[in-house]
Symmetry: C2
Subunit: 208 residues, 2 copies
DNA sequence: ACCTGAACACCGTTCAAGT
DNA sequence: ACCTGAACACCGTTCAAGT
């Protein structure tokens, strides 16, 4: 019986397919073995254990992502375009975000965009520590937003909280604000607006 | 044998202690039962199942958090102070962040700060949809930053990435930038700076 | 070099049975 | 109303044994 010859790549491919279809939680060694038609223990020979299987999977998926190319004329526009591009690439691989976060590898998610970011920040005239801060601020903001966003989408209706907000809002007597907060956020627009505001602030201000 | 009478509160308290000492992963129904000196199945009678136990735990911890009080004279300073206060409160409860994120309840983390935020944004002169956007931008940025930050701290040395950055940086001929990026980030300072830049951008610009 | 089944030490949850 | 042990269906991992 058994298969002619199992390769590490076959294992990774099957694991990736499992994650794509049913999410990272569905990736158990036993289900993976069933999918491959081998004994559970064979997988261990090829990938070590579940930990390193997930690491390899993250690596694979990050490398699949295309490089992010800046677009636009002003420095702000170009930096924002990098952030938006990264967001688009990551949203196309929703499980990657979860896997990377779970494994404490957020750094990996930046890789496809970081050269572009360094270049653009430099071109915008920032140097040294100021430039490093700007790059990091954009990175944190981008991935942070992604994490919050995906978290929100997973459980769209969060019963408590809205009520309290309404109270606070009506106390300010701004019904338009209340209405806007009651509606679900347009995340694409919110992301672009926040990022624009952040980059503006980073390039503009001297400090204080 | 057994205990005189187990209460739901005792279960929650023991669960909270377990999470405090060994993190959320250590909270298994069986370990909890051992800690309480009861049969595993008794717990189910009091809290339903693991899911709702975690929900109750999140609720409990959020309510423990103090209200965030704004400080400072300018609107920017006051809004930034709310964000920093929220960050401080959450960092004092590191496992809460993980539990909340894992359960898709990010909204809950904002509760202690959202009234203050609405008030300050309103006082800064923003109204309606603009105000709602600003509140949300600050919320996303704060929790997003927290998530990235905690993720980073969990696995401090992330072998790949640094090398690539160095390449890009040396290509720009900015050794000070390279040095700054090679060092670990001062997250407290980075948070404050990013938040200040963001709020500045939000209050200043009309759009585009 | 590669694959196997058996076994170990864990999980969460259900359920019939006790008091 | 509250607690119990037995049982079920899962996990990841190790290990001696096969070819």
């Amino acid at each position: 019986m058994a298969r002619s010859s199992l390769t590490r790549d076959e294992v990774l491919e099957a694991a990736a397919a499992l994650v794509r279809r049913h999410g990272p939680d569905a990736l158990t060694m036993r289900k993976l073995a069933a999918e491959l038609g081998t004994a559970v223990t064979s997988i261990y020979w090829h990938v070590g254990n579940r930990e390193s299987l997930l690491d390899a999977l993250v690596e694979r998926t990050v490398q699949e992502m295309g490089a992010v190319r800046p677009a636009g004329r002003t420095p702000v526009a170009r930096i924002v375009s990098v952030a938006r591009g990264l967001r688009r690439e990551l949203r196309a691989r929703p499980h990657l975000i979860a896997m990377v976060h779970e494994r404490g590898l957020t750094e990996r998610m930046f890789l496809p965009a970081q050269q572009a970011l360094v270049h653009e920040v430099h071109a915008a005239g920032l140097r040294g520590a100021r430039a490093a801060d700007a790059v990091r601020a954009v990175q944190f903001q981008t991935v942070g937003f992604l994490l919050v966003e995906r978290n929100r989408e997973r459980s769209p209706v969060q019963s408590p909280g809205e009520g309290d907000l309404w109270d606070a809002v009506t106390a300010e007597h701004d019904p338009a604000l209340a209405r806007a907060l009651a509606l679900p956020a347009d995340q694409e627009r919110l992301f672009t607006a926040s990022m624009r505001a952040l980059v503006h602030g980073l390039l503009d201000a001297g400090g204080s």
